[in-house]
């Protein structure tokens, strides 16, 4: 997916000089590895952590339908931020971890956050089987070898006023974004390694507002790592992941800067074959704005990709999907109408 990194607080604590771009993501990559074009991703190793890159995230968003017929959204994210491109034992580890989890209902958006240091066992990602954890939150593989470790997952998370336990089964392949997983983020060439698994079917239970609700739906998983994914003048982004009723998927984002911004998109057909679009091919424009927790954010979007004949509008399940975390942003489920109806998730940062 895109630059969904949110690491503000931690990165800023690490180095005040890095306060450039959103969440310091536009900083220099001194000493850290940089993504290179043409390096093939290899699994299952690349499902794991890459400590020599500055930032990394495992990101799951689910569009859910309750037994009560209502729309819900669930988010589970683990971020890794490195103060230095290395791993050391115990408290000396320079790896920092942050988890974000949320449940969105039409009435309320519930969110929670966890932070941890690496090296002491409080958080991290392990392989065979794949398991990403922070505190009591986890995203764990249920896949039986030789199937890909991500082909079946169980995720749990809990906050002060919500919790959920979901099981996920994929019915399509892993999708490498950009050029075989090399995803360009700016005209100056900032890039990340990035792949997705957008084909999950979800069942499970969410608890929010004092009720347990059985849910089913579909989910989208992203894993991305980089050391300098934003150009210095990029201040935030608008990111879209769409599940169309046809079974096809669309991932698109716009990185905002002083000028036109930088857009990128990948069309994924129902069989899972990605078709990366040229920069600028995706057009996005806000249709309606709202004041959310003191921030003015677009809540309805027009998204078009003429090359694929797509012209859709988005409408949020809940306008107030603000993540009240140390690095605050908007992340919530949307319904899609237009040429390609469906459901999806929108993320907006830097507002």
């Amino acid at each position: 997916m895109n630059v969904r990194a949110i690491f503000l607080m931690l990165l800023m604590m690490a180095a005040p000089a890095l306060a450039q771009g959103f969440a310091g993501l536009g900083g220099d990559a001194q000493g850290f590895a940089a993504p290179e074009r043409g390096v093939a991703l290899s699994f299952p190793q690349d499902h794991g952590a890459h400590p020599d890159y500055r930032i990394e995230w495992w990101y799951l968003t689910a569009n859910l339908k309750g037994a009560d017929g209502k729309d819900y959204g669930a988010q589970w994210t683990l971020f890794r931020s490195a103060l230095a491109p290395e791993e050391k034992p115990g408290w000396q580890s320079p790896q920092l971890w942050m988890g974000h989890a949320a449940i969105t209902t039409a009435e309320r958006h519930h969110s929670a956050e966890r932070v941890a240091r690496g090296g002491v066992g409080q958080a991290g990602v392990t392989l065979s089987p794949f398991s990403a954890t922070i505190d009591d939150w986890s995203m764990t593989s249920r896949a039986a070898p030789p199937a890909d470790e991500l082909s079946a997952l169980a995720i749990t998370a809990a906050g002060e006023d919500f919790s959920y336990a979901l099981t996920l089964d994929s019915h399509g392949p892993l999708v490498r974004q950009g050029e075989e997983g090399y995803s360009v983020k700016s005209a100056q060439g900032q890039a990340s390694y990035y792949y997705s698994q957008p084909f999950y079917a979800v069942t499970g239970t969410i608890a929010a507002g004092g009720r347990d609700i059985a849910v089913t739906g579909q989910a989208w998983f992203d894993h991305e790592w980089s050391s300098q994914p934003l150009a210095k003048d990029q201040t935030g982004w608008d990111w879209f992941s769409f599940h169309f009723a046809s079974g096809a998927k669309l991932m698109g984002f716009r990185l905002r800067d002083a000028g036109e911004g930088f857009t990128s998109a990948t069309w994924i057909n129902a069989g899972g074959t990605p078709e990366p679009q040229l920069p600028g091919a995706l057009k996005v424009s806000p249709l309606a704005w709202a004041e959310v927790k003191g921030h003015r954010v677009p809540v309805r979007w027009k998204v078009s990709l003429p090359a694929k004949g797509i012209e859709v509008t988005t409408a949020p399940v809940n306008e107030d999907a603000w993540m009240a975390t140390q690095v605050a942003y908007w992340e919530g489920p949307v319904r899609i109408e237009g040429t390609h109806p469906g459901v999806g998730y929108v993320e907006m940062t830097g507002y």
């Binding site: 115990g90 408290w91 941890a116």
Partner: protein, 803 residues
């Protein structure tokens, strides 16, 4: 009318400038001592509060082991994995050069906002620098100054930290404290998710501890501050004696003026209001002066107090005073309130007296014998209260209540006692002049009694505290000689070096005795655990208070422990009681030793038992036995061979000198307050004699007329003052001894946990006696001098108009 009335009232002071000066200076001095003590206490309390607030201990619940010991951080991870929002803290002490530092290791990433006084993300630190070796020490400005040039991690300064504490990353702290993977406690974030698994299922050995409302430090040092407060109060009480007598006299002297004011039509209410206004102005002025003076006194005393607190309790208090409006406001308020209280009865009399009541300053000063008797009965009752409080009460407050009641009771009895003594003097004396002298002195007694009572308080406080300090000193010096038998004390820097030094020393000395130690928490309080070798040094010298016959054998075999007196008293232990140690191990108590100057409980066991029970014990220190004349050479060789710093190899004399220095500084404050209190009392006598001298012409004129020269009369006046002071001093000795006994047997035991034998120091009393007589003579000198300069006409006038 009002303005004229006010001018008339004030004109009295214009005519009695000395009286005015006495009133102001008495009140100012009393306020000064009171607010100085309060300022010092507040400074210390603020420092303890800062210590308590570090990492939110005063606001956050915590998880700790019931015995207070450290536990593996896997317990922390298990709780996080079970849904608990907790943050780990490790705490311990480490020495850098001569500085002992409390190291506080936190995890800045999970630290709850309530606990984050210091933002490590702030400029100049940054998370990476904070958590990456060598890390950063965040310390208070004065600690930074003390640590300058030492081998610590880079220092950053924050005012939020108490002195003597370094905040650092938990990983850095674990390494420095040699406790990898260990934590001391977990801070509980106030808002917890409801889904967390129960504590008993995840970490059964941890218990919830409520936020520490009172820190270890404020508990330990409470007695010390109560001590100071008691002294401040004593000084204030003595000061109020002056104010009371000065105001009483001034009211009587002004009765004619008041009568005139009423007669010319000033309403009573307006008059009372004017007098209250006058008192408010006077007391505010004196209070302000006192508060300013108090600030000076406190600034002078604070470094000594800070040194005492550090030496005695390891409590860190900054040496500089900050201005606290609350303290000074309270000082001013207490000055005004004390003045108004002193004047209340006078105002009442003016309000209720007939319009044309005559002025009777002389009568005022001659309260009847029956009043003295009544006062003495009150005094006796207070003594009974004191005795009951000492017998039945427990705790420091009861101790001080007994002390206060005893002092006040003795003071109240004093006038009657003196009266009886003077009566006796009169009966025993021969000759007209001698008999007149005694009778006249007795007749003057009521006017001087307040000042003499103040003198008694000051003298007995001096005698009592002096006896206590000297007894303590004598016992302490003897105890140091016993306890510090080894010639050298060596502190090594690492376990490896420790082993090498031990080998090196064992070939060059008579004995190398390990002094290895660990820490244990019982009933939530820290207890030091020391391991000692089986050696004659201990058998022959260790200052035991009581023990079973083969105590040292049993300690050596790991079958028994010794405890210090503090621990024995605090936990009410008897020989044979079983002392719980690490884990499930426990050993019987086979002996109790005296351990003056140590605020913490301590147990001693055989060094083998220590190593077995506390594998993590610090094994860095040794005591060395060698012929005393060879000790300096060996110390030099040892430093050279291992590159040890001078403070790592210390000889016995240096330890003794250091201990004595701590001792002396501890009582420097007491001594200073003592002298100041005596000064206030001297002033009280001076003020009283001064006021009486103006009224005594009627008594002296007939004596002069019968042939006694003014010069001789003046000498007699001085003699009278000296006699009264001497008698007061005689009375002060038993009161002082009572005070000393209470301090040693009640207050010290409650406050510090040790009982001290009382020694008597008659030479000190002699010194005090001379001081008392000298100050009384000095106080009488000026009035006597004035008397010799009286013109005969003044004296003759007495017969002319009968006043």
């Amino acid at each position: 009318m009002l303005a004229q009335g006010f001018a008339v009232l004030l004109s009295h002071w214009w005519r009695h400038k000395l009286q005015f000066a006495m009133l102001l200076s008495g009140l100012a001095l009393a306020t000064a001592l009171w607010s100085a003590v309060q300022a010092i206490n507040e400074e210390a309390r603020a420092s303890y509060a800062r210590a308590a607030a570090v990492v939110g201990q005063d606001r956050l619940e915590q998880l700790v082991r019931a015995d207070g010991a450290r536990f593996p951080q896997s317990g922390y991870i298990a709780l996080r994995k079970a849904g608990w929002l907790v943050s780990p803290v490790i705490e311990g002490e480490k020495r850098f050069g001569a500085e002992r530092l409390r190291i506080l290791g936190v995890d800045p990433v999970t630290l709850p906002s309530e606990a984050a006084q210091v933002n490590v993300g702030a400029a100049g630190i940054g998370l990476q620098r904070f958590i990456t070796p060598p890390g950063v020490f965040i310390v208070s400005p004065e600690t930074a100054k003390r640590l300058e040039g030492m081998d610590t991690p880079p220092l950053r300064i924050s005012d939020a930290l108490p002195p003597g504490t370094a905040l650092t990353d938990i990983g850095i702290a674990q390494t420095l404290l040699d406790a990898p993977g260990q934590v001391s406690r977990l801070l509980i974030v106030p808002r917890q998710p409801p889904h967390a698994r129960p504590l008993a299922a995840v970490a059964p050995d941890l218990v919830r501890r409520a936020p520490a409302v009172e820190s270890d430090l404020s508990r330990l040092t409470g007695s010390f501050h109560l001590n100071l407060t008691a002294f401040g109060f004593l000084a204030f009480a003595v000061g109020l004696f002056i104010v009371h007598s000065a105001i009483g006299l001034a009211f009587e002297q002004r009765l004619p003026a008041i009568r005139t004011l009423r007669a010319v039509g000033l309403p009573l209410n307006a008059l009372i209001a004017l007098m209250v206004a006058e008192l408010l102005v006077l007391s505010t002025a004196a209070g302000l002066a006192g508060v300013a003076l108090g600030y000076g006194v406190a600034s002078l005393l604070l470094p000594d107090v800070a040194a005492s607190l550090r030496g005695l309790y390891g409590a860190e208090v900054p040496g500089a005073l900050s201005i606290r409006p609350s303290v000074w406001g309270l000082g001013l308020a207490i000055a005004v309130a004390g003045t108004l209280a002193s004047a209340a009865s006078r105002l009442w009399r003016i309000a209720s007296m007939p319009l044309l009541a005559p002025a009777r300053p002389r009568a005022w000063s001659l309260a009847s014998e029956s009043a003295l008797r009544l006062q003495a009965v009150g005094g006796l009752l207070l003594l009974v209260v004191a005795w009951l409080a000492a017998q039945l009460g427990t705790g420091l407050v009861a101790g001080f209540a007994a002390l206060g009641a005893m002092l006040l009771g003795a003071a109240l009895i004093l006038p009657l006692t003196l009266s009886l003594l003077l009566d006796l003097g009169g009966r025993l004396s021969r000759g007209v002049v001698a008999q007149w002298f005694w009778a006249d002195t007795r007749q003057q007694l009521p006017g001087l009694s307040l000042a003499l009572m103040a003198l008694l308080l000051a003298l007995s406080a001096n005698a009592g505290v002096g006896t206590m300090v000297q007894s303590f000193r004598e016992t302490f010096v003897g105890w140091l000689d016993q306890r510090l038998a080894p010639e050298l004390y060596v502190t090594t820097r690492s376990l490896e070096e420790s082993q090498k030094v031990r080998d090196w020393l064992s070939r060059r000395s008579d004995a190398v005795l390990p002094i290895w130690n660990a820490e244990l928490r019982t009933s939530g309080q820290p207890v030091q655990v020391y391991g000692v070798a089986d050696h004659a040094t201990y058998r022959d010298h260790w200052p035991m208070l009581e023990s079973v016959p083969d105590a040292w054998n049993r300690v050596a075999k790991g079958e028994g422990v010794l405890a210090n007196e503090q621990l024995m008293r605090r936990q009410k232990l008897k020989l044979g009681d079983v002392i719980p140690l690490e884990g499930s191990a426990s050993l019987p108590l086979v002996g109790v030793f005296s351990d003056y100057g140590n605020p913490k409980g301590q147990v001693i066991l055989g060094v083998d038992a220590l190593v077995k029970l506390f594998p993590d014990a610090s094994r860095l220190r040794y005591a060395v036995r060698i012929a005393p004349d060879r000790a300096p050479q060996l110390a030099g060789d040892l430093r050279a061979a291992f590159g040890l710093a001078p403070e790592n190899v210390v000889n016995q004399a240096a330890v003794k000198a250091f201990s004595l220095k701590v001792f002396e500084r501890t009582f420097a404050v007491t001594a200073a307050l003592n002298v100041l209190t005596l000064g206030v009392a001297g002033l009280a006598i001076f003020a009283s004699l001064l006021t009486l001298s103006g009224m005594r012409l009627a008594q002296l004129a007939p004596v002069w007329a019968t042939g006694l020269t003014l010069r001789k009369l003046a000498l007699l006046e001085i003699l009278r003052s000296a006699a009264l002071a001497s008698f007061t001093m005689l009375a002060a000795v038993p009161v002082g001894l009572g005070l000393a006994w209470m301090l040693l047997a009640v207050i010290n035991v409650e406050a510090f946990g040790w009982l001290l034998p009382m020694h008597l120091f008659p030479l000190d009393w002699l010194r005090l006696f001379i001081l008392a007589v000298a100050s009384a003579v000095l106080a009488a000198l000026l009035p006597a001098l004035w008397l010799t300069h009286r013109s005969p006409a003044d004296l003759v006038k007495v017969f002319a108009n009968e006043r």
